[in-house]
């Protein structure tokens, strides 16, 4: 009964979404305030009904209703309750419903927090978002209905949630990711509204910025959580694989980074309007493209959902309509590029343009690399694989190229700066060079020149930021007065750039200084890895809620202290019966120590993986800083005191 209720709620939601796509938009063309005002109540209604659907589906999972197909396919009565809940988005159909719910949430948020927006702009924005919702709701109802039933004969027990997903990571990573992904639809909607309305002044950019920064922040968190989850869950210490599904989430992030910087120029200086509009369309198009790639089966991935070519066709048509339609609208309505530009090459605009060039190059590179096997295959040119060796080789230099400019950009003045002003950056350069060159010397016996480069770049970022803060607060009566005069926007930028430096260090230092060993250990044996001593005390049987495990006990002495790590080899009791290794990690700010059990060998020994990974957690701390920085900017007062 309840699943049917959910189904009906979804059907109602489509109707409301259709109304919301048409009525406010129509109202904006004919000038009817009544019609335009419908945007908010319709958004609210759509949110309510999609929420009802979510609740119904959650109910099915939490009550082990195996008559619902996806519950039977992806859940199990032995599953801990929290995973029964998160199993909702463990499969394709449920995750699509989550997508839709988050879209409805963003739409409602825009409707609620846009009192300063002119009514016709708001009406158009809400209509565009509703159009997207219509597409996804239809996709869900027609090809991927989460409420599909297995009547009259349904199994007594579900198959189980993939053990890999039985982890806190699954509870939080997809929602965060989707909030980010879907959030770019707001910037998209604003861009389309601007193109439709012909009002291309810079207020559009000002309205878009907080929404875009917010979405970008969540996407950063979503990607970071996925990376961290893969690291501790998969058992081999990797944190990024350039898998097509990962790339599908990374491309909107890269384009989104270009977008948030481009929006800054458009808002402050009124420049690059056409370009920023295009970027807004591009970022969301990449989100949609990602949805297509992940769910259509055109690319092979460990993350891919179970696929069906008919679903692929639907998404492709939807993609064609949305992206094709918006790019056509852009081609006809975007302002032609002005002949006079209005800034000197020694200005902040130039640096932001460089940011855009590099991030666009990165986005396109990842796109081409991800699609290359598909393109070659469809041209009959054979089967190719493009993986980490390629992406790492091309991506890292691009990012390295970016950093020197990141250090100057915030300090540079708008429109026209004088090179002499930049003399104050000589101190940071010198300090960074000195400390960067020394660091690898002091840290380990083997000198890694690339580590020197990374440390120089990261320190350059940090020192240039500090210099900029000092320079911008220098005129105030005292330090506190100076600091409090800077806006949340400014501090958000500082924090985000700082986060980038931290991640940069984390990536480089952990890649170069990690030590990994796969060894065969007998109970009672010890192994020495760098300055750590691993003592294997044997294994014992433990019981989990839905698994049985061999748990190994490792006593590790490091420096003066010692601690115990308990890696497990789990065999799940469900029909899947999968065997999984659950690594044990001692996580510290400056290093991770990681132990994983492999296969039991003859004579009672075990294959064991031992890792020493310095600075690896900086990768994710940095991402958290970046996201926090983005979120901070949303609270800037100037976004709230808007004049239409």
């Amino acid at each position: 009964m309840i699943p049917e209720l959910g189904n009906m709620a979804l059907a109602l939601a489509v109707c409301i979404a259709v109304a919301q796509s048409v009525l406010p938009l129509w109202g904006s063309f004919v000038g009817s305030r009544q019609l335009m005002r419908l945007g908010y109540p319709l958004a609210l209604a759509m949110f309510v009904f999609v929420s009802i659907a979510m609740v119904c589906l959650a109910h099915a999972f939490l009550t082990d209703d195996f008559s619902v197909a996806i519950v039977a396919a992806g859940s199990n009565s032995l599953l801990p309750t929290v995973y029964k809940f998160s199993a909702l988005w463990g499969g394709h159909e449920g995750s699509m419903l989550l997508w839709i719910w988050i879209l409805a949430l963003w739409t409602l948020a825009v409707a609620l927090f846009s009192s300063e927006l002119p009514l016709d702009v708001l009406a158009r924005v809400l209509s565009v978002m509703a159009m997207i919702a219509v597409g996804f709701l239809l996709f869900s109802l027609l090809t991927s209905n989460p409420f599909a039933r297995l009547l009259p004969v349904f199994p007594a027990e579900g198959k189980d949630l993939n053990p890999l997903l039985q982890d806190p990571g699954l509870v939080i990573h997809p929602p965060m990711l989707y909030i980010g992904y879907v959030g770019f639809s707001v910037a998209f909607a604003f861009a389309i509204a601007a193109l439709i309305g012909g009002r291309m002044d810079v207020t559009w950019a000002r309205w878009s910025r907080p929404w875009t920064n917010l979405a970008w922040g969540f996407l950063t968190m979503g990607i970071m959580l996925g990376s961290w989850w893969a690291y501790y869950e998969l058992g081999w210490g990797g944190w990024w694989f350039w898998d097509p599904v990962e790339n599908a989430s990374f491309m909107p992030w890269l384009a989104g980074t270009a977008l948030i910087h481009s929006l800054a120029v458009t808002e402050k200086r009124g420049l690059f309007k056409s370009w920023t509009l295009l970027l807004a369309i591009f970022a969301f198009s990449l989100s949609l493209l990602g949805t297509f790639l992940v769910r259509s089966g055109v690319l092979t991935s460990v993350h891919a959902f179970a696929t069906d070519p008919s679903r692929g066709i639907f998404i492709l048509i939807f993609l064609g309509l949305v992206v094709g339609g918006s790019l056509t609208l852009y081609a006809f309505r975007a302002p032609s590029v002005k002949s006079s530009i209005g800034f000197h090459w020694l200005s902040r605009e130039t640096f932001l343009l460089i940011n855009n060039a590099i991030f666009l190059a990165a986005t396109l590179t990842v796109l081409v690399g991800t699609l290359f096997p598909l393109i070659m295959d469809s041209l009959g040119q054979g089967k190719y694989s493009v993986g980490a060796p390629y992406f790492n080789a091309v991506f890292v230099p691009l990012m390295a190229l970016l950093v020197p400019f990141m250090g100057i950009g915030p300090t540079a003045r708008w429109k026209k700066d004088r090179a002499q002003r930049w003399k104050l950056l000589l101190v940071p350069v010198a300090a960074a060079l000195l400390m960067g060159l020394l660091f690898p010397l002091l840290y380990s016996e083997v000198y890694h020149p690339l580590v020197a480069v990374a440390v120089i770049l990261a320190l350059w970022l940090v020192f240039s930021l500090l210099t900029d803060i000092k320079e911008k607060t220098g005129n105030a009566a005292n330090l506190w007065a100076g600091l409090s005069r800077r806006t949340p926007s400014y501090y958000g930028m500082v924090l985000a750039h700082l986060g980038f430096a931290v991640t940069l260090l984390g990536v480089c230092l952990s890649s170069h200084y990690s030590i990994e060993r796969d060894v065969k250990m007998m109970p009672g044996e010890s192994y020495q890895l760098a300055k750590l001593n691993f003592n294997f005390n044997g294994t014992r049987r433990v019981n989990g809620p839905n698994f049985v495990a061999d748990e190994g006990e490792f006593e590790i002495s490091e420096g003066g202290s010692s601690y115990i790590l308990l890696p497990q080899k789990r065999r799940y009791k469900s029909q899947m019966g999968s065997v999984m290794t659950e690594a044990a990690i001692s996580s510290g700010i400056f290093r991770h120590v990681y132990v994983a059990l492999g296969e039991p060998l003859e004579d009672g020994a075990w294959a064991v993986r031992l890792y020493y990974k310095p600075f690896v957690s900086w990768i994710w701390y940095g991402a958290v800083f970046m996201a926090a920085g983005a979120l901070m900017t949303v609270f800037d007062r100037r976004y709230r005191k808007l004049k239409a």
């Binding site: 058992g235 696929t307 990994e516 296969e599």
Partner: protein, 159 residues
């Protein structure tokens, strides 16, 4: 069509061995030479597992990955170069099995792409910035109300 897909998936599943999919391929090859170990680690990350859903043979515990890792180990010990080992694999499994596209032939464009994108971007910047503009000439001329008017107009534009 759906039936065909289901059938295909079922077939693939049937081909999995009796021991279930384990994640973390931990083997215990011994290397006397550290250099050899580093080469082993980087080679097994470059080779793709032919039957897995996009994993390298280092990360996969499928039987074929185990065999291929063993083969890499044996060939390294026998003194073969990295290129020889890669060629050995490509001969038998095709270009598919290498994650690093070759730096020649049809995949050369893949390696040139990032450089091309970057150059195009930088060319656009240079083109945009180098155009002689009103504002640039404002910087040049120092006096006159016309210049002041222009400045005011510029500020208006940007508020």
């Amino acid at each position: 069509m759906i039936l065909a897909v289901i059938k295909r998936v079922a077939l693939i599943l049937l081909c999995l061995t009796a021991s279930a999919q384990v994640l973390a391929a931990i083997d215990h090859h011994t290397f006397e030479d550290e250099n050899l170990r580093q080469r082993y680690l980087s080679l097994v990350k470059e080779l793709r597992c032919p039957k897995c859903q996009n994993q390298n043979i280092a990360d996969s515990n499928s039987p074929i990955s185990n065999d291929l890792r063993e083969q890499v180990y044996l060939q390294l010990k026998a003194g073969n170069s990295d290129q020889q080992i890669i060629s050995y694999m490509v001969e038998r499994y095709g270009q598919f099995i290498v994650y690093r596209p070759p730096l020649k032939g049809k995949t050369l464009i893949l390696w040139m792409a990032p450089v091309m994108f970057l150059l195009i971007g930088l060319a656009c910047i240079v083109f945009l910035v180098r155009r002689p503009t009103e504002s640039n000439s404002v910087a040049v001329s120092n006096t006159g109300t016309s210049q002041r008017i222009k400045e005011l107009l510029n500020e208006e534009e940007q508020s």
